[in-house]
């Protein structure tokens, strides 16, 4: 049963000071699937991504990513993952091509294969024409695509996407969805967080709703909807998370930057 789990999280706990953000999260993600993590602002979605990508330290519980223990083998985890965070992780002063080639160098791809990989990703994301311009002159959608392309340079087995389409126009969002689907079809495991329930509904094989520091519900979107007798994931979301969603912003736990 555990053999095809790309992400296996049990009893995950994390506090910042006296503020408990995660209070025993269990999460299982099968290899090659897309799982969407939903939850109100401040529910701890970004914290989960931070913990699984070795950016944050786990307080309690276990987490295995791509078969490696996050605490005991962080280097092995890093070698197997790609992360696209909420904050733009591209170098504005470099061109798109230089950004990708930097990633290729850091993955030790070698000069020629590195250049080929960079060119292929530029073409794949439709960024070839702008490739030699500084990223600071690019649009938000293009930067987001480059961000994802940089994450993919090393062919990661597991990809974390933290709100990948926030701030994108509908067309860019759809392009990104297509890329994510293609990745999963090629065997990459994807864990994404999103505010857009439509995104989760359309893209994810499974959805996990995070609330009060735990996974309040999980399953395929269709199952969740019928289990909660809801017409849309919106209704499921509101039913499961209503109490804390009503909290004023000041008292809600702060989302990790």
């Amino acid at each position: 049963m555990t053999s095809d789990l790309a992400i296996d999280v049990r009893g995950l706990r994390k506090s910042f000071g006296d503020q408990t953000v995660l209070d025993g999260v269990d999460l299982a993600v099968r290899a090659g699937s897309i799982t969407a993590l939903l939850g109100p602002n401040g529910a701890g979605k970004t914290t989960i991504v931070g913990l699984l990508s070795t950016l944050l330290k786990i307080d309690a519980g276990t987490a295995r990513v791509a078969g490696h223990d996050v605490v005991a083998q962080p280097e092995a985890v890093r070698a197997a993952i790609g992360v696209t965070g909420q904050t733009s992780a591209v170098d504005d002063l470099l061109t798109g091509l230089e950004n990708l080639r930097l990633m290729a160098s850091l993955h030790h791809l070698g000069r020629r294969p590195g250049r080929e990989r960079a060119d292929a990703l530029l073409a794949q994301f439709g960024l070839t024409d702008a490739a030699r311009k500084p990223v600071s002159t690019w649009s938000g959608g293009m930067r987001r695509k480059l961000d994802l392309a940089m994450t993919l340079v090393g062919n990661p087995a597991v990809v974390f996407l933290d709100e990948p389409t926030t701030g994108l126009d509908p067309r860019s969002r759809r392009t990104l969805w297509d890329e994510v689907r293609a990745l999963a079809a090629a065997g990459t495991t994807i864990l994404l967080t999103t505010q857009y329930l439509e995104e989760a509904d359309r893209l994810a094989d499974r959805v996990a709703v995070l609330d009060g520091g735990r996974i309040a519900a999980g399953g395929p979107p269709a199952e969740l909807k019928s289990a909660h007798d809801a017409g849309s994931l919106d209704d499921v979301f509101l039913r499961l998370t209503e109490p804390s969603a009503e909290l004023p912003a000041e008292t809600a736990p702060k989302e990790m930057a």
């Binding site: 070795t54 950016l55 944050l56 070698a79 470099l94 160098s105 030790h108």
Partner: protein, 277 residues
């Protein structure tokens, strides 16, 4: 429990610190070329200082640092001789300060988080910018020294002296860059990161660089005699004039460089590993 099949992620190719550091150095130099404002600023300040101190203050100050020199043109020439080593170190410390800003920019944007989630040598993420800053400091020193010579400064160093000077500049730049990287990482914002290292700007003035320490009041004099830049400036002065190096001053210079590098590196390293919310 069955065997974990998808665990067959590629084995972690052992850390490649040298390759990673070179990739990061390349990035840093590219950034310096793309955003020349910061680099030219760090060169412009010592250039302005040199012109100001020679042409405005030099005529009077020169007579104070070189007994027997008459104020005016002779004073300016004497003062140029006296302050050039300090201005060079001012340029080195100024270049080091710019790395605080770039470290802070990386930390506050998402790119440092990206590097942290990659299987790359941690030292390279900070070491690349540090080496890039050493290169920029060497360039700044060449520009400022060129200007000083155009104004009439005549160093009397042999080949060995010039090589030793280049090595000293690189060493001092390396040391202060590590300190400034740490200052940049400890800052909550890029604005703070550009302000904190400003205290280092005061060091060349509170030493033997601009006036002899014997002329200072007791407390300031005590600080000036023992602060790191005083032996560093005196060693630079000796190398430029081709004078014999004083053993204890040279050892103090090397010792201070080692201590500042060690402290800066350890501080930067612990800040890099710190959780950042």
């Amino acid at each position: 429990m069955t065997t974990v099949t998808i665990a067959s992620a590629p084995p972690v190719a052992g850390a490649r610190p040298l390759a990673d550091t070179l990739a990061m150095l390349r990035r840093n130099l590219l950034r310096a070329v793309r955003y020349p404002g910061l680099t030219s600023f760090t060169i412009a300040i010592p250039v302005i200082l040199l012109l100001l101190f020679v042409f405005v203050f030099g005529g009077a100050f020169g007579a104070g640092v070189a007994p027997g020199v008459t104020p005016g043109a002779d004073g300016r020439a004497a003062y140029l001789d006296y302050i050039t080593p300090a201005i060079l170190l001012f340029a080195v410390v100024g270049a080091a300060q710019s790395v605080a800003i770039s470290a802070s920019m990386d930390a506050t944007s998402g790119i440092m988080a990206r590097f942290k989630t990659m299987a790359i040598s941690p030292g390279s993420v900070l070491g690349g910018p540090v080496l890039g800053t050493v290169v920029q400091a060497l360039i700044a020193v060449v520009v400022v020294l060129g200007l000083a010579m155009a104004l009439g400064y005549r160093p009397d160093a042999g080949l060995a002296g010039w090589l030793a000077l280049a090595g000293l500049v690189a060493l001092v730049a390396f040391a202060f860059s590590w300190l400034c990287v740490a200052m940049g990482l400890s800052a909550k914002s890029v604005e703070t990161a550009s302000n904190t290292p400003m205290i280092l700007t005061a060091l060349p003035f509170l030493g033997s660089g601009f006036v002899p320490v014997e002329t200072m009041p007791a407390g300031v004099r005590w600080f000036a005699e023992y602060q790191p830049l005083t032996p560093i400036i005196e060693t630079t002065r000796a190398l430029l004039t081709g004078a014999a190096l004083d053993v204890s001053t040279t050892l103090l210079t090397l010792g201070w460089c080692a201590v500042i590098t060690g402290l800066g590196y350890a501080w930067a390293r612990s800040l890099y590993r710190r959780e950042r919310r």
